[in-house]
Subunit: 456 residues, 2 copies
Amino acid sequence: MTLQALMADLAFLGDRATTSAAVLAHHGQSETHIRSRLPDLVVFPQSTDEVAQIAAACTRHGVPMTGWGAGTSLEGHALTPFGGVTVDFTRMDAVLAVFPEDMLVVVQPGITRERLNEELRATGLFFPVDPGANASLGGMAMTRASGTTAVRYGTMRENVLGLEVVLADGSVIRTGSSAPKSSAGYDLTALMVGSEGTLGLITELTLRLHGQPEAVSAASCAFGDIGAAVDCVIATIQMGLPMARIEFLDVASVAACNAWSGQDLPLMPLLLVEFHGSPASVAEQAGRFGDIARDYGSTGFRWAKAQEDRTQLWKMRHQAYPAILASRPGATAIVTDVCVPISALAEAVEETRADIDASPIPGPILGHVGDGNFHAILLVQPNDATELAVAKRLAARMAERALRLGGTITGEHGIGMGKLGYMAAEHGAAWGVMGAIKQALDPAGLMNPGKLVARK
Amino acid sequence: MTLQALMADLAFLGDRATTSAAVLAHHGQSETHIRSRLPDLVVFPQSTDEVAQIAAACTRHGVPMTGWGAGTSLEGHALTPFGGVTVDFTRMDAVLAVFPEDMLVVVQPGITRERLNEELRATGLFFPVDPGANASLGGMAMTRASGTTAVRYGTMRENVLGLEVVLADGSVIRTGSSAPKSSAGYDLTALMVGSEGTLGLITELTLRLHGQPEAVSAASCAFGDIGAAVDCVIATIQMGLPMARIEFLDVASVAACNAWSGQDLPLMPLLLVEFHGSPASVAEQAGRFGDIARDYGSTGFRWAKAQEDRTQLWKMRHQAYPAILASRPGATAIVTDVCVPISALAEAVEETRADIDASPIPGPILGHVGDGNFHAILLVQPNDATELAVAKRLAARMAERALRLGGTITGEHGIGMGKLGYMAAEHGAAWGVMGAIKQALDPAGLMNPGKLVARK
């Protein structure tokens, strides 16, 4: 009855409000093993005003509302464990304005990062945050996404300058301004970025752009062990070398990528690096990095100076996930990420490697090591409860290890449904403060319930 | 009676809780024209536990509590319009730990930025945020301070990685971790940075450090008009040149600095720039900047390659405030700052310049133009109500102009008491959201009342 009353209020959406079984099923899927109840209704708004009306109607009827971008979350952020309405933003995917002098772009939340960069190509500017998946910008903001380029350009935290947000009651607020910085009150932009749809629905984003680099140079290099690779990363950062990317692949990841992409990278722990700048500065940076890498015993250095070679290198990196999935035929994955202080990175990676090696399942490790961030892709046979339990215990120990080493249970994937159980351990009393903020902004608990904060 | 009961609860502080008239008077002063009622009591805690006990006691007795760092706020942040307890952090000023590999330092809030950098000198690292004044790190975090180097190294928003905070009820939370990034829940660090003591009292900060640059080069260069100087800044940013500082001084500021420092800079709109990097990259950046500046008609280029020359240049810039004050003997100042999108900077500065020129009072303009941030130092005769009213109207129009141009009422000075009246205009309904967060975390409204949020 509630649903019918809600649908009557949303009649203005016409066929952009649907209970079609196929649509509900699509919005009940996730990229990983996480599953939940399906939504009761999926809506496809086309404007902020429509989103505001949807939120107000959901609040009137006490129905949960959950945003949906591109469905690429790895922790079940867009699933609906309590049913309700999924607000699919794929029809709000416009570039609203580009301000080249201010190096800003204003977009709707449904646009994907690849299409955004296609639309920006002619401007000489680009949006750098690159989580691998072709995620939506709204989703990327809501999970505080980052990826391969965060070491140079920052995460969504640094690259979202302002937002338009629809709150639970349907009111619309704007956070931030178009000025590069501000000291005018609480940083609501930063509060919303990473809030996983639990405080509001983003309907517009103002994003920082960066100049397309004049020159780019990339390389892969191999190390005798994980510790040497990580020590090389630390030394590079301390030298102040402005790397654009510095990625780590363990031997299992390299093997999977070789098999998938037809490459012949040495079966050793690898770093993939990239430098951006003027031709002279890129050459200097590359030379200095080469010196450092050799100090740490690096071999098998391969420079990718031509655009074609770089494209191949990063395509391989971006396809690491399907490559690793394919390395165990028929498998599904628990993809888990943690982030630790750089000084603890070697210990964290080596302990995790040993823990997985001692288990019955495979789990390649790779990551954005310039940020202290790494992932394990734990491969389990679907419907094998024993393997799933093993993988969950491995992931739990990985999270506990990160906390013990002064880190965090997730560097970039977020909490969603998958990591709710570790929030108390990471934040202690501060998790209660998050709950108080949630309560203040969404007293009925209708915005993406079951995620990030403790359920009342 | 309330005060006596509170003091009884705080007896454990001994003579570190005082009602001495001189101490109260000192904590009722501000750097600017803003004045308020004195505090009733000043306390000097030495530990987080003492701060927690103070907060709990204040809450029990319904007494306001206001933090005090170095007293350098320009908007009356540390004043006590409702009396109560001033919590002076000058005895909590230790460097608690340095983690060179992670490029992090953990400090207490009372340490000043100059002393922090002295203590870091031997490590090869430094803390870059430089608001000019020798402020405390706790105060800098609470106002989201920035300054001359923000264009390269970011503001306090980017350089505070984690906090320990005492809440109104005396509970202690930790925000953030020692990992370089995280997606684990609401960004409470960012919420606290810039909250001006209205949500909690910072008792510990984890700060990002940066490598001391291998090579540094600085220069001053003159332009025919403000527009040419600003267009040069825009072009430099769009080229992706990684400037460490890019500062603007108008003619009145240059004249004041010349008189104060015995320099002979040309009486024209000036840019002061600095580049950090390897010797080769600094040389390349400087050369490229020189080319751009000449394209915009710059003359009077002076390079300061020697450490001594650079020290003199930045000393002059840091002493611009006393120099400008001295340019009108006996005057006091309204120091106001706004921040606009870079594309609107020339218009904002030129309109402001014309507005001040049409008024009866002097008001040099200078600023961190790489951030779109500039200041007017409006010089008024003390106790001249007419001049003060003129200055306040000029400051109000400057704030309104910034908002009209898509900017913010303050880039780095914060709201405090001075800018509360503009918050509704900048934030609209979002100011109400700030009030809801305040209400959730400090329901009795005891933490720095009269600042940032609407008074209930």
